[in-house]
Each structure stands twice: as structure tokens, then as C-alpha cells.
Symmetry: C2
Subunit: 291 residues, 2 copies
């Protein structure tokens, strides 16, 4: 059992790590730090954490496990705050949606990535944000990607793997660059598309009130456009070049379909939609037998 | 009470009209016609209809109410089949997702749109298709748009309005062209985007197995890419010019965001995402107090 778990950033993900750790009796006590004092108070009221502090070094001192659960844009500052109290006896992990930027931030602050820091990315979330939305089963049966480096301490890697497994997750290892490439496709690009469509139609709705004629399909399709704008601005900055690559690829995809549409070739449209439907079925099939 | 209700096309929508009509005791008997004999048999087995026929004129003869619930590409052929038995004593409506093409089909077949046909479009659906997916509450608290013409018989219009209201829907009237413009934005464009993204990532998944790292957000986002390819090919053909207009507008929207991303201007990205999130909230707010 971990004696003290420290969560840096007590939002949806940090709060859910805390709730899951408590529910599964992973640690004796949970301390959290956040710039937002009200979030800390709320986390204490909800019983998500034992106590909150507004000073990162103070909170992390003496902790055996430190989870950095802040937007990727803040991680470098957190590394700087942690540096004076960085402990050989603890393990460190994070939850950032991009991993290259986190590794680079660690290199800038520490000279090299500390061998007891294991970059992690839980593929789990909700469109809600903040500690109020935190739930104990957020990671249950979800994938967590670890991107260990050649210099990562193998024993720490196994500790961190076990930590995420104990929170309910299925843990996969992946290279840093591969992670950022794959997630740009499956997560970052879809978010940008949803934001862009909602942005465009929002302007039209202001004039023509079109949203009243949008249905459940539109609601599901745009759900991720309700995600936290700050978090997503950070992700875009951190993984800019990978996202740009896929964005351009998607523009070409739309242009290609536009030509089919222009031509009025019903058979080609039917084939295109059928291929897409089959691809989505392949995506769905992997959830079979899971919640 | 309607004595005999005839449903032309017993898929998800036609089956749900039948189920809702039965649950709400709107008619004495329900007869259906479909090219797919197995769908008719299944509808009989499920108790969705009283009996099925494979001959449209035969099925519609003697019905007081006829609902054409076939993909928009088939409606002209159905009008032709109905023409010899078209009854002054009955009312006719349809469920097509595009209305201009339906009105044009009626003009081609009848010379002018019959004054007892009221074009309708229920803004309701599921990504599932077929009579097995039909449910009695598909239209409950959903909007149905009627696009009556100047020549539409006002008494029939009120009959059709009441019919859809009795199925649980909130009925709105709209001009034909305005309908096709608005729905291109809120429904047709989102479907194409979802199909295009799934199509593009499906090709990548075949090589790199990226779908295993896609999460719930992706599942929601791509749900509409599981819609019936034939139905959507028809819609694209029928509403091609409106859809093309919005598709080009969306390409420009993505290019605009791409420039912001390229520039790395975090504040602008944050503002863009915030505006989109607020627009989606405006969309969500109209559901308040509804299911």
C-alpha cells in the first residue's frame, strides 16, 4: 500500500485517480495541490482527498507516489516546482494527452528525464471537467498507455504499471512518438473537427436558429466539442505538427468525397459509406464483452 | 380513428410509425408493403403490422392514411405505383430526409403535387436500421417538419399534423427549400464528416491498429457513420447542391483553424474552442426539461 499519494491538479482526471485509489484502497492518504483553491476545497468536501495545499513542493514532499494531472501546458512549471523535492524513493507519473511535449519539458527542467518518472496517458475521459465530475470507475477497463524511455528504471516502470492496473486500467506500452502520432488521429483530430463544425454552425444558428432542427445524431457527434477549451488548446500546441498532418489529410479526404458528391455517382457514395460503416464496426467489435 | 393505415417501406422509421400508431391506438389495422419480403414477414412476426404485401397499389387501396417511409431515392417509383389507386379520401405523407427531391418526384409523376400529400420529415432516428430496430417512442418529443405547399389542402394539412402529433411529435411547418438548407447543415454535413473521418482512419487502422487507442469520445463522434449507406447515398444525391455548399464552407473552416494551429497561437485556439463550446451549450439548452 502507498502511504501518501499526491495528486498535482485536482480536476476530472486527478479527482478520478484519487477516487479510484481510495475505492480500491491503494493508499493510506491522499494530498492534492491545485492553483484553484476552490477546487481543493471542493475536493476535500467531497471526500476525494484528505487535504489540499496550494504549494506543489510542499504537497509532494514525503509522498511515495505523485500523479501529475494537469493540462499538458502546465507540466513544465510543475516539474520545476517538484525539482527541489524530487525523491528517489517515490514514483512519478502523469496523465498528459501528449507525451513528446511532456518528455521535452522534463529534459529542459532536469537535463534528462528522471528514471523514476513514467509518462502515462489514460485513454479515458468525459466531456465534463472539474473535480465534481470525477468518478472512481473512470479508468475501469480503459486503456492506459505508458511511454517509458530507455533510461526508465525498470522497477519503477513495473510499480507504475501496477498502479494504473490497480485503478482498473489495461496498460499498454508504446514509444513516445508513436503515441503522439496515433492519438493525433484517434483523439486530437476528432476533437478539432467537432469544435470546427460546432463553431461554424453556431454562427449560422445565431442568424437562423438551425439548432432546433438538429437531432440526437448531432448531439452525439458534437459531444466532444463541450470538452475543456484550455486543455485542448494545450494539446494542440503540444502536438501541433502531428495534428496538422492529419488535418491536411482530412481536408484531402473531404475534397475527395466532395468530388464524388459533385459527380452525383450514387454507387460510389454507397461504396464509400459502406466502407466507413464497416471500419466503424471493426472499431466497435473490440468492445465486445466489455462495458 | 383511422380504419386502415398503410406503411410503404417497413424499416426503422416505417416500423416505428407502425409501433407508435398501434401503441397510441391511432388505427384499426396496419398494412405494409416492402420490396424485402423477409422484412414484411419479420414485421408480422413482431406484431408491428397486421399483414404485409409486396404490391404497393394493392396495399394502399382502401387505406385512409398512407405513410411513405422509403429512402428518398425510391419515392418516385412509389408515387408511380400509388398513382392508379391514389384516393381523394385518404391522406398521404412521407418521412424523407430531403423535401425538394420528394416534391419534384411528385410533380414528375402527377403533373403537380397532389393536394392531399403533405411532405414530412421526422427529426428522429437511430444508427440502427431495419424493422428490428423500430420502437414506439421514436418520435416522442421529437420534431417533425412539415413542408406544405401553396396547393396543399388545409384540412388534409391539419389531419397530417394531428397524425404526427398523435405519434408523440412536436410539429413545425417550414418551406421546402429552407428545410433542405437547414438539414444539410445540421444533419447531412455531420453525417458526411463522420463517414469521411471513419473512412480515413479505417484505412490507417488496417495498417497500424489505431482503433484500439480510440476512446468513448470517438465512439460517440462516429456513431452516425454506422447509419445505413443506401439511405445516405440517396440523401446525398437528393440534396447534393446544398450539401456541397456546406461541405466547401466546412473545408474553409478547417483551413482557417489550420492556420491558427500552424501559427501556434494558443490564445486564439482557446477562444475558438470556447466559442464552439458555448454554441454547443446553446444547442443543449433547448433540450432542458425534455427527455
Amino acid at each position: 500500500m502507498i502511504d501518501r499519494l499526491c495528486i498535482v491538479g485536482i480536476g476530472l482526471i486527478g479527482g478520478s485517480v484519487a477516487r479510484a485509489a481510495r475505492t480500491r484502497s491503494l493508499c493510506r492518504e491522499i494530498v492534492a495541490v491545485d492553483q484553484d483553491v476552490r477546487a481543493l476545497q471542493r475536493a476535500e468536501e467531497l471526500g476525494v482527498i484528505d487535504w489540499g495545499l496550494d504549494e506543489t513542493a510542499e504537497a509532494a514532499k514525503g509522498a511515495e507516489a505523485v500523479v501529475i494531472a494537469a493540462p499538458v501546458g502546465r507540466i513544465e512549471g510543475i516539474f520545476e516546482a517538484l525539482k527541489p523535492v524530487w525523491s528517489k524513493r517515490a514514483f512519478y507519473t502523469d496523465v498528459g494527452s501528449t507525451k513528446g511535449s511532456v518528455v521535452q519539458a522534463a529534459e529542459r527542467v532536469f537535463g534528462r528525464v528522471p528514471d523514476n518518472f513514467v509518462p502515462a496517458h489514460p485513454i479515458a475521459g468525459r466531456e465534463l471537467s472539474g473535480v465534481n465530475a470525477a468518478v472512481a470507475d473512470l479508468f475501469a477497463d480503459k486503456r492506459v498507455i505508458l511511454t517509458p524511455l530507455a533510461t526508465t528504471d525498470v522497477r519503477v516502470l513495473e510499480q507504475v504499471r501496477k498502479f494504473w492496473q490497480m485503478l482498473g486500467a489495461e496498460v499498454h506500452d508504446m514509444g513516445v512518438a508513436h503515441h503522439d502520432h496515433v492519438l493525433a488521429a484517434t483523439s486530437h483530430l476528432p476533437h478539432i473537427i467537432a469544435y470546427a463544425l460546432t463553431h461554424m454552425l453556431g454562427r449560422k444558428d445565431e442568424k437562423d436558429e438551425i439548432f432546433q432542427y438538429a437531432a440526437g445524431g448531432f448531439k452525439d457527434f458534437t459531444r466532444i466539442a463541450s470538452s475543456d477549451p484550455g486543455v485542448w488548446a494545450d494539446i494542440c500546441v503540444a502536438n501541433r505538427s502531428e495534428i496538422l498532418g492529419f488535418l491536411h489529410q482530412f481536408e484531402a479526404e473531404l475534397q475527395g468525397f466532395g468530388q464524388v458528391l459533385e459527380s452525383g455517382d450514387r454507387e460510389k457514395m454507397h461504396e464509400y459509406f459502406s466502407e466507413a460503416k464497416m471500419a466503424r464496426q471493426r472499431f466497435l467489435d473490440q468492445f465486445k464483452g466489455k462495458t
